[in-house]
Subunit: 168 residues, 2 copies
DNA sequence: TGTTAATGTATGAGCGTTCAACCAAAGGAG
DNA sequence: CTCCTTTGGTTGAACGCTCATACATTAACA
């Protein structure tokens, strides 16, 4: 690959295609869940992660990592879910700084009602359109990208020289 | 693949990995552009699409399609970009319902200044971590998913029976 | 030609996310 | 033991997006 700081034609094509698919897929998932269950996809994920763990309880920080949320985002989200009665916040006995989020029975029911429609949408938009090989490829690609995102590695500093050249 | 309405272990693994990567990648791109150029990724795309077209001018509707924006979202976005002086709205001579969005010189300069840092971030997070084969695979996967999203095809209606079973 | 439908866009309210600031509890170093 | 730093979490303002609505222009058609 030519390493002049830009993308090759193949890379640009792949990038724009992937971005478009990812953006529209996100929108489709949000629309389906909002319409059928009254909650956005990010909130569904919070309930799903809680439901999948013994005691249906997680520390806020761990839940934030599992749902790819900032702590602030999660805090706001859980506040809303708590107002709805889907989640309850309880103090953590081990560490008095921490807060535990516990899925309520009502929250579990909402999740259980929403799950089939959500899964059907994911299958229709993703897995029904991919071969088993492509599913494996998608996993590998996701893992590769994820590897560069988890560690707060340095974003490469821009080159002002290039900017100046282009601005001409 | 078992077709009982749920995901296989491989599918679930691929799905969660892909979702995590996509979510964190989006956040990383938005952060970088917001920090270094003062605009979100979606706004960068609008400027980029305009800059790549003869006359640097597009109908709002076409621009919305190219940027995977709703018309409402684009209208708000262009309103903001126009306040900043990056874009100007001009009436369309052919169809008096339409509005043309034209990239201004100032807007082009902003884009040119932002582009190198953005491209560097995309390369660092995506293309530097993928093989050429994976890039081709990503394009194919994106195209396959996109094929089910462009046409406003029916979202599969949920199965209330499954929901009831699960809610038990 | 007059009526109705479809198209292209804009607007405002409501909501979710980000960012910066803040506070409290725990850990470490002197 | 005190100070300082780190960690865990919350809050409010600013902003972008969604949704519903509205309006003007064009197309279809009887």
């Amino acid at each position: 690959m030519t390493d002049d700081g830009w993308l090759t034609a193949e890379q640009l094509d792949a990038w724009l295609t992937f971005r478009a698919a990812s953006t529209l897929l996100d929108a489709a998932l949000d629309r389906q869940l909002q319409r059928d269950a009254g909650l956005p996809h990010a909130y569904y994920l919070i309930l799903a992660m809680l439901s999948d763990v013994p005691g249906r309880t997680l520390r806020m920080s761990d839940l934030a990592l599992m749902t790819q949320s900032s702590q602030s985002r999660l805090s706001h989200a859980v506040a809303r879910l708590e107002r709805n009665g889907w989640v309850r916040r309880v103090p953590c006995p081990d560490d008095r700084r921490s807060t535990l989020a516990r899925l309520t029975d009502a929250g579990f029911d909402v999740l259980a009602a929403a799950a089939p429609g959500h899964v059907a949408t994911v299958r229709a938009h993703v897995f029904d359109r991919l071969t088993a090989e492509q599913v494996a490829q998608l996993r590998e690609i996701g893992a590769a990208i994820l590897g560069g995102l988890d560690a707060p590695q340095a974003c490469p500093d821009r080159s002002p020289a290039q900017a100046a050249r282009l601005a001409e």
